[in-house]
């Protein structure tokens, strides 16, 4: 009796929490399809905000910039992060390299706002002194790579820890040199992890407001920055439409990441079947 009552109340709490989690996102999507000019009442279905949005050159430029920034920074992060994750694995247990863990976790633990302003100070100073790195796309790209890279390294690292160490011995026994190991063993084995890291990076990049905001220069507006500046003047149905697109995009990217994850499991199973 007692446990059934507990079960029922748990279920009620669960559905309330789901409602709590999805209501704000649902409302954003709802208002983006709503014909009314305000966001206080519902009239009827309309695509006019999307039409207006796609007629807005500023929004399209922002979207393009966000995608390029995400792709560029994710490619660099995937390369450097994979190397770093591999190095962390090689050096795990080396006492003198214990600081490596701190370096990798620093970007993960730093609050966005501190990240943003310290980058702002740094780039301003470097530009004043050396005339390079004027705040803009390049500075944003550098900042994005610096916070995405550790995530790729951690994903790659955890994949390597899960591998059978004997595989590395096999490589040695076959007299594979450094490049051959990388080409025929490390990269093929790690490719699901690298891909997962790439998508994670891309999601983090598309998602970021604060760090982009403080490292960007005039004329370089990402979609989150555009939405941010727009809602400071008040939430409009048009901004809801832009946000709804971003919600859709992130959920799509997450689905891709999940498929990659599933494929990773599949290849492992296939390998087991082969052995």
């Amino acid at each position: 009796m007692k446990s059934r009552r507990l079960g029922v109340s748990l279920r009620i709490i669960w559905y309330l929490v789901l409602f709590f989690l999805y209501a704000p996102l649902f409302v954003v999507v709802l208002y983006s399809f709503n014909d009314a000019n305000t966001t206080t009442h519902i009239t009827h279905f309309s695509l006019r905000w999307y039409r207006r949005l796609f007629g807005n050159a500023q929004v399209l430029d922002a979207l393009k910039l966000s995608i390029w920034l995400g792709l560029g920074s994710s490619v660099i992060s995937a390369v450097l992060g994979t190397m770093l994750g591999y190095g962390m694995y090689i050096h795990r247990g080396a006492r003198r390299l214990a600081w490596l863990v701190w370096i990798v976790y620093l970007p993960v633990a730093t609050p966005d706002i501190l990240y943003g302003i310290s980058e702002l100070g740094f780039f301003t100073d470097v530009h004043a002194r050396f005339g390079i790195l004027r705040p803009g796309f390049l500075t944003m790209l550098i900042a994005h790579v610096s916070f995405q890279l550790p995530f790729v390294a951690l994903v790659v690292y955890s994949r390597l820890v899960g591998l059978d160490p004997e595989l590395f011995n096999a490589c040695r026994d076959l007299y594979a040199n450094g490049w051959q190991r990388a080409r025929f063993f490390i990269v093929p084995t790690l490719s699901p992890a690298i891909l997962a890291g790439f998508f994670l990076s891309f999601t983090l990049s598309i998602d970021d407001l604060v760090i982009s905001f403080f490292t960007t220069g005039p004329g370089n507006t990402t979609l989150p920055i555009y939405i941010w500046s727009a809602i400071r003047k008040g939430v409009t149905p048009e901004v809801n439409a832009a946000a709804a697109i971003l919600i859709g995009g992130v959920f799509a990217a997450a689905t891709v990441a999940m498929v990659v994850q599933y494929m990773k499991a599949l290849t492992r199973r296939q390998r087991n079947a082969l052995l």
């Binding site: 789901l18 003198r96 490596l100 970007p107 609050p111 302003i117 740094f122 998602d207 989150p224």
Partner: protein
């Protein structure tokens, strides 16, 4: 360089046969690009920020020589008009909002994490995914969703006004309440996940034993459930409390002028208010609190895990 080689020889760990042999240059070539990127573009900027805190505010808001403690004096509340409690209040408010949000997140997460473990195992990853998925969307958009829901004239605000909780012409947003709500919303998944991991390994016999000894639900929870889920709880507090303290977007959007948090105070000094040394000094407070929080929580979780090293 030489150190890395020496340590590899001294510890005799797998690095030797893992492939790169004695070629330490090769190993450094693998690690260094990433490490240098983080050092040059994050560690150096952070050190620079600490340095800025000790400089003078120039006429254009940019830091200048000579080095002083003016920024810290200003942060402690000493201004042109004498001492005021404003900054102290911001710091206290930030601590209060963080503590309140962490407490609420914990209270919600316990039943949610437990509920997930009572479902069929095949279903559990999907249920967890349902909890985590909203946090993948943009922070700004999540806050905007609440702006839509809580603005003056919306059903929730009208209801609150009818109940006499707020003045009729106001909405539930902007307010300190909206900030707390936004924080709870953003960080809920980060408590549910570690708690779920703890609940998954829960020894139910201990709970049964507590009931057999005529413990009520409260005592059964305190003596059988809480100690077993403590590692998850501490990990959750670390994942919720630390970022909540440094939060900028939520109070900026959902809070009014009277619910500023430390992150907003800092940001303002680098924007319109333009007083970099002052902002940098406030940043040092944020760094210090974050570090103290991390060290204390790490120590507590190490103790809870029985001396076992905890990752993160």
């Amino acid at each position: 360089m030489a150190e890395a080689v020496a340590s590899r020889q001294a510890t005799g760990y797998q690095g030797r046969f893992l492939g790169l042999g004695s070629d330490a240059w090769h190993i450094l070539g693998v690690i260094m690009p990433g490490v240098l990127w983080i050092v040059v573009f994050l560690v150096v900027p952070m050190l620079l920020l600490v340095g800025i805190a000790f400089m003078t505010n120039g006429p254009y808001g940019l830091p200048e020589q000579p080095f002083t403690l003016d920024a810290f004096r200003q942060l402690a509340g000493f201004g042109l008009l004498g001492w005021g409690p404003g900054n102290l209040l911001v710091i206290l408010r930030t601590l209060w909002q963080t503590a309140l949000a962490t407490l609420l997140v914990t209270l919600i997460s316990y039943p949610v994490a437990y509920y997930v473990t009572t479902r069929p195992p095949a279903l559990q990853p999907i249920l967890l995914l349902l909890v985590v998925a909203p946090s993948w969307s943009n922070q700004v958009i999540r806050a905007m969703g609440w702006m839509n829901l809580l603005a003056p004239g919306t059903p929730l605000s009208t209801l609150a006004a009818k109940l006499g909780l707020i003045a009729p012409e106001l909405g539930l947003f902007p307010s300190a309440f909206a900030v707390t709500l936004g924080l709870v919303y953003d960080f809920l998944p980060f408590m549910v996940l570690p708690l779920y991991a703890s609940f998954e390994r829960l020894d139910h016999a201990q709970v049964e034993a507590a009931y057999d000894l005529h413990a009520g639900p409260v005592r059964a929870f305190l003596h059988a459930v809480l100690p077993q889920t403590l590692p998850g709880l501490l990990a959750g507090i670390m994942l919720v409390g630390i970022p909540a303290f440094g939060m900028y977007v939520v109070p900026e959007l959902l809070g009014g002028g009277k619910s500023l948090m430390l992150g907003n105070l800092i940001a303002r000094q680098f924007q319109d208010a333009s007083n970099w040394p002052y902002g940098a000094a406030a940043s040092i407070v944020m760094i210090a609190v974050t570090l103290v929080g991390l060290v204390v929580l790490r120590r507590l979780s190490r103790r809870a895990a029985g001396g076992v090293e905890v990752v993160l």
